[in-house]
């Protein structure tokens, strides 16, 4: 211990004694070797102590006490600590329950909302969240297939109400969903020749396109339902049959569109041993008894394979795989859209026809990729 430090301790001990009313002389006697240095300091300390012995005036003391008591009386008694915690807990739980109920209710209400309704954004957001929370590519593709179904329902409802703009927006979203299915099935199989055509092409370019064995690179749009890349859509006057050898119809502008001629739907009777085909698709598809990748140069074979697989799955009582599901959806949705086309107002028909084309091409691409993957 340094000398200065030691002296600090001695001085402090003497001050403590002095504060306890011990005379200075007692301290000096206790530390005779430091007495000369201690004495003036202790006298100064004593004087300081006396100076600090200031007493408040009686008048002030009385006034201050009165005001303090008044302030104390105005205080509301506090609840006990445990009761406060219980109340806080109840409050927190109540808030959480209310938020959860409100949130769940909003999401539930949004589930059935349509594109022209306020909660539709919540619905799309929920879909995005579901996709984000699904880890596997196949799981995501299944979700997009499900969302495509939803988009088709929305298109039909909006078309029934004559809302052209909403039909077109929903068509774009459906196209985005189908593109995502195609992309995801590619990435799941990843053959290294990832490609394919955009789901929607002009009739001219579709006709001029090479056979499916030489796919072109497909731009991969962001799989979001909020912002969808606008596909290139050129309306065709009539729903031309889509086959590998289909001739390219002339590209026409929407203004020059004649009224689409829609063939009446035909509901085929399932025949044992013959693949079940949806009416519209069936009309477009040349029946191929035993489709093989080599022979199925178009999506017809792919669809057929999917249809056959669906039958087989049903027979085996298995859970349908993605290809089967998409194939069935393709048939059903196209059929629903074409049936809607017959009853909707004339001003909506071009948009709805566009949706049918988009759906057909999108499903083609998705199924084609799935088939290639196999």
């Amino acid at each position: 211990m340094s000398k200065a430090r030691k002296f600090d301790d001695i001085l402090n001990e003497c001050i403590e004694r002095m504060l306890k009313r011990e005379p200075i002389e007692t301290c000096l006697a206790a530390f005779p070797e430091h007495a000369a240095e201690l004495e003036p300091l202790l006298r100064t300390a004593m004087a300081t102590r006396k100076a600090a012995e200031i007493q408040p005036r009686a008048e002030f003391r009385q006034r201050a006490a009165h005001e303090f008591q008044a302030a104390v009386r105005n205080l509301k008694p506090r609840r006990s600590s445990s009761l406060r915690w219980q109340l806080r807990l109840v409050t927190v739980i109540s808030v959480v329950v209310i938020v959860l109920m409100a949130g769940t209710g909003t999401v539930a209400a949004a589930t059935n909302s349509l594109p022209d309704q306020p909660l539709y954004g919540v619905k799309l957001f929920t879909e995005n969240v579901r996709v984000a929370l699904t880890p596997s590519a196949v799981g995501k593709a299944e979700l997009y297939a499900q969302f495509t179904d939803t988009r088709v329902s929305e298109i039909i409802k909006m078309a029934d109400e004559g809302k052209v703009a909403e039909v077109e927006k929903a068509t774009e979203r459906m196209n985005s969903n189908l593109t995502a299915i195609t992309r995801l099935t590619q990435s799941a199989g990843d053959t290294g020749t990832a490609g394919g055509t955009p789901p929607v092409l002009s009739s001219a370019s579709a006709a001029a396109e090479a056979p499916p064995s030489t796919p072109t690179t497909m731009p991969v749009p962001t799989p979001t339902t909020m912002s969808v890349p606008t596909p290139t859509i050129i309306l065709v006057p009539t729903p031309a049959p889509i086959t590998a050898t289909a001739a390219a119809p002339n590209v026409t502008t929407p203004q020059a569109l004649p009224k689409p001629v829609v063939p009446p739907p035909s509901v085929p009777t399932p025949v044992p041993g013959v693949p079940t085909q949806a009416p519209s698709f069936a009309q477009k598809v040349t029946p191929v008894p035993a489709p093989t990748p080599e022979k199925a140069t178009s999506v017809n074979a792919t669809r057929l394979a999917g249809t056959q697989k669906a039958e087989n799955t049903a027979k085996n009582n298995e859970k349908p795989d993605l290809q089967t599901t998409v194939s069935q959806q393709a048939q059903k949705n196209t059929q629903d859209l074409e049936e809607a086309l017959k009853r909707v107002p004339d001003n909506v028909k071009p948009s709805l026809q566009k949706a049918i084309d988009v759906a057909g091409k999108g499903y083609e691409e998705a199924l084609k990729n799935m088939d290639k993957k196999r």
Binding site: D8, L19, L41, A52, P56, R61, V72, P77
Partner: protein, 178 residues
């Protein structure tokens, strides 16, 4: 300390008796502490009153942390003094003699004490803030070195050194009058 903790718990539940007891125990010390620091009796009275009004408003958030309750009150008082001095931006030279207690009827003793206090009050103005704080807490607040250390956030050794240097400085300023 146990009894003080119990008293504080009751005061935190806004028990009037406990609050009054804490007030009575600390009122004079807080007044002296403020009075020595600002040197103005009237302002010291107002500020002392305000310290206790602030204390009862925020006593529910008080946590002992092993320190005496008075340390918390000194902190409130210190903050008020700092605000006060900042606002005034100048040192106060109000005589302290009006606050001198009349200890008995001996006029000679009263005069002596008055002179001593005036001299010390003037000398204290030349101390550093830390030295002033130590002198205020030790001699007006009656805190121990350990309590001063915790209140000021310094080591006990530092408080002892500050105490020593403050007394030396006071003595020099007093010109060996004391």
């Amino acid at each position: 300390m146990q009894s003080e903790e119990s008293l504080i718990r009751r005061a935190q539940q806004r028990d009037q008796v406990a609050l009054t007891q804490l007030y009575e125990e600390n009122f004079d010390k807080i007044y002296r502490y403020i009075c020595i620091k600002i040197g103005d009796r009237t302002e010291a009275e107002d500020m002392t009153q305000q310290v206790f009004l602030n204390a009862i408003q925020s006593i529910s958030s008080y946590k002992s942390k092993g320190m005496p309750f008075s340390s918390w009150l000194y902190r409130i008082a210190h903050n008020q003094v700092v605000d006060h001095l900042r606002k005034k931006s100048k040192r106060i030279t109000v005589p302290l003699d009006e606050t001198i207690p009349f200890q008995g009827d001996d006029p000679r003793r009263v005069v002596e004490q008055k002179l001593a206090i005036e001299a010390i009050a003037a000398a204290a103005r030349g101390l550093t803030r830390a030295q002033q704080e130590v002198i205020s807490l030790r001699f007006a607040g009656e805190l121990s070195v350990a309590e001063c250390a915790r209140t000021m956030g310094k080591s006990e050794g530092a408080i002892k050194a500050l105490q020593h240097s403050a007394i030396v400085a006071l003595r020099k300023a007093l010109g060996r009058e004391v």
